[in-house]
């Protein structure tokens, strides 16, 4: 399973999402879109919007910290 989180330092739900995965010992790649312009462009492409966090689990895109959706994808 590949997980990527597009986030910023200042967004509370980004922190909550990352802490949630950390607590479950699930590795992920963090992309700070405030400092990584290429990462921001990538996030705009995959999610079609600019709100953070965007969580990509394999090929599924979740916009926002949606715990039930994350749970259903990581339990697959």
């Amino acid at each position: 399973m590949n997980i990527k989180i597009y986030s910023t330092q200042t967004c509370p739900y980004c922190h909550m999402a990352k802490d949630y995965l950390k607590a479950k010992n699930i590795p992920f790649v963090n992309v700070d879109v405030a400092t990584d312009a290429q990462g921001l462009e990538e996030m705009r492409k995959v999610s079609g919007q600019m709100g953070v966090p965007v969580i990509v689990i394999d090929n599924e895109v979740i916009v926002g910290f949606n715990k039930p959706k994350i749970d259903s994808l990581i339990s697959k």
Binding site: P12, A34, M50, P68
Partner: protein
Amino acid sequence: MKVYDLIILGGGPAGITAAIYAARKKLDFLVITLDVGGQAAWSGDIENYTGYQFITGPDLALKFQEHMDVFGIAVKNPERAVDVYKEGDLVKIKTDLGEYCAKSAIIATGKRPRPLSVPGESEFKNKGVTYCAICDGPIYKSKDVLVVGGGNSALDAVIALARICPKVHVVNMTESLTADAVMVEAVTVLPNVVVHNDTRVKAIYGEAFVSGVVLKKNGKEEDIKVEGVFIEIGLIPNSNFASRLKANEHNEIIVDCNNNTSLSGIFAAGDVTNVAEKQIIIACGEGAKACLAAASYLVRKKW
């Protein structure tokens, strides 16, 4: 259908505090919310919450979450309440995902940013239009942006954005900025800020993302190219779903000093109510009061 002792709607300071009290009272209860932290999560620096000389909104929200986690509280998140009503002595709650029943309820759904209600706003939400400068500001680094509003929260956003954006436009409906004098002064000296007083936003446009805004000033229209539009024109209560309860002219749910609403067994707390001041610490206190009131209501009813 299962009958809970209590259902708490909302996961901001008021709802979370009510939940902590309910857990300590060992009530059989549930929290239904769209997020944890509420408005506290997108507050900037907090310097008036007792016990913390300084904490940021996101950090305080995390502390709230951790405090709730200690009790293993059942939280339905994200789930949106769409109706609340009484059926005999019981409270029924309809949400976008289901229906619930409880002996009592606390409504602590808080407030949300007031929309501008102009063409393009909802279409470009999160595609250039945002209501949270703290969360989304850094994404607009090196881009020209526009802030709508002239109060303290608008100017807070302007000052933060002016550090990272080449140009920041401020669109203000009134003749002059209404924020505190210190803030207005701080903004006026910034070389890359342009203030448009007595001006309204007529429309927001773009293709996949925002590319500009049409302003109207003295009957004349002006086109401004920006990639980000930050709307900071105040807040409105999340009370539409609770239309069966009495509310004031601002749509705030009316509560008495014990957090009773116009329907017995339904309590309300925090920013969604007509409580005198909207502060994190006041919302917490109101949440605690509402839970204690609900607990004694359950005892009185001999449930």
